[in-house]
Amino acid sequence: MERFITHKKGQFVMIAVLMIAIMIISIGALMHRAVTYYRHEPWEEYLTLIGAIELNSLRLIELSLANYTNTDSPDQDILRTNLEKWQANLTRIYLGYGISLNSSNDCLACDWNKNSSSSGANAAFTLDIASIGLTGYKFMAKAFLNLTILNKIDNEINVTVRGEDGTPITGLGKDNFQVSNSTMILNMTSVASYYEPKEIQVYTINCSENMTTPITVKVWDERGIQVTAKYP
């Protein structure tokens, strides 16, 4: 006992070792907790489900508009019919979620055979998911396509194609256009696009035949939506 009291150096080392040991253990415990920490967010699972329903409701609007614009005798109620089917089928697709989707203000229209022609459809939706207590989640879905004939110079036609909110549609080629005059469908030699400061993107359609006015230009985008414009 006397030795312990007199040897102060030894005590200091022991206290230091003990403190370092406590420090290592506490830091180790903290680090283990940090790397194994998991915060469960049940909402994340449902956000993807809501996103999937929202996206496919938009796809339904686009599909209905594509059907409407590609049929010789279009069904005026195609959008309403498809919406009703989708609302009924959703409960069968996502079993056990208690999904209820209601739509309102659905509209489908075409304004064709003008210099600037358009096809458009939209609907407002209200989504309820009983299993998570979600009620009254509202969203809008709209599909739109505009074709504007800017000018015609000899065998060349310049047009712009725009989607929702006026965004230019890119990546269109010969397969997406059709040019005709009052008697026949004209043979297109090339379709090219270039940047123009005002219109952003302009498509130039070249035809092999001499173009007599009036001419009709048809466009189909990647969703299958059609627009027909006439010049002049």
Partner: protein
């Protein structure tokens, strides 16, 4: 007096060196630390992963094209790119009557994994239809498909 002062300096240097050694040891150990997967939430994690992958493909308008054109190889390739390497998957497509629409196997991984794994996640995803070009005319009909994607960690 001077001797005592020098001793104190040495202690400080020792303490600094010791803390450096501890920090170095901890950071070295941290390199080898692998975040353990929580078995409790494994299925939920896989479900989230599956939903996100299908949603991403659908947003890029690829999922509907692959499914309605029966491009099974393209779906397999896309899922293999988007999912982590250790996640095995099996996808089946049904119509509303519950009949398989495509008999091509959309599968990646070991069949043993699905037979033995305790944590298999199943994701259901609905599609409305796809506008296809047939003889220079688009056909756009409402034709829903139910996509069932099963996931397991191999």
């Amino acid at each position: 007096m001077m001797r005592n002062g020098k001793k104190g300096q040495m202690r400080i240097i020792e303490a600094i060196l010791a803390s450096f050694i501890i920090i170095f040891a901890l950071s070295f150990a941290n390199i080898f630390v692998i975040t353990p997967t929580s078995p409790k939430y494994e299925v939920t994690e896989l479900q989230k992963l599956g939903y996100n992958v299908l949603h991403d493909l659908d947003e890029q308008a690829l999922l509907a094209r692959f499914i309605y054109n029966k491009e099974g190889d393209n779906i397999t390739a896309a899922l293999r790119v988007l999912l982590p390497l250790d996640v095995h998957f099996s996808m089946t497509v049904y119509d509303l009557q519950g009949i398989k629409t495509d008999n091509t196997a959309i599968f990646y991984g070991d069949t043993e994994t699905f037979a033995t794994s305790k944590n298999i996640a199943s994701v259901t995803y609905g599609l409305v239809g796809y506008a296809t070009k047939i003889n220079d005319a688009y056909q756009a009909t409402y034709e829903p498909r139910i996509v069932i994607l099963q996931l397991a960690r191999g």
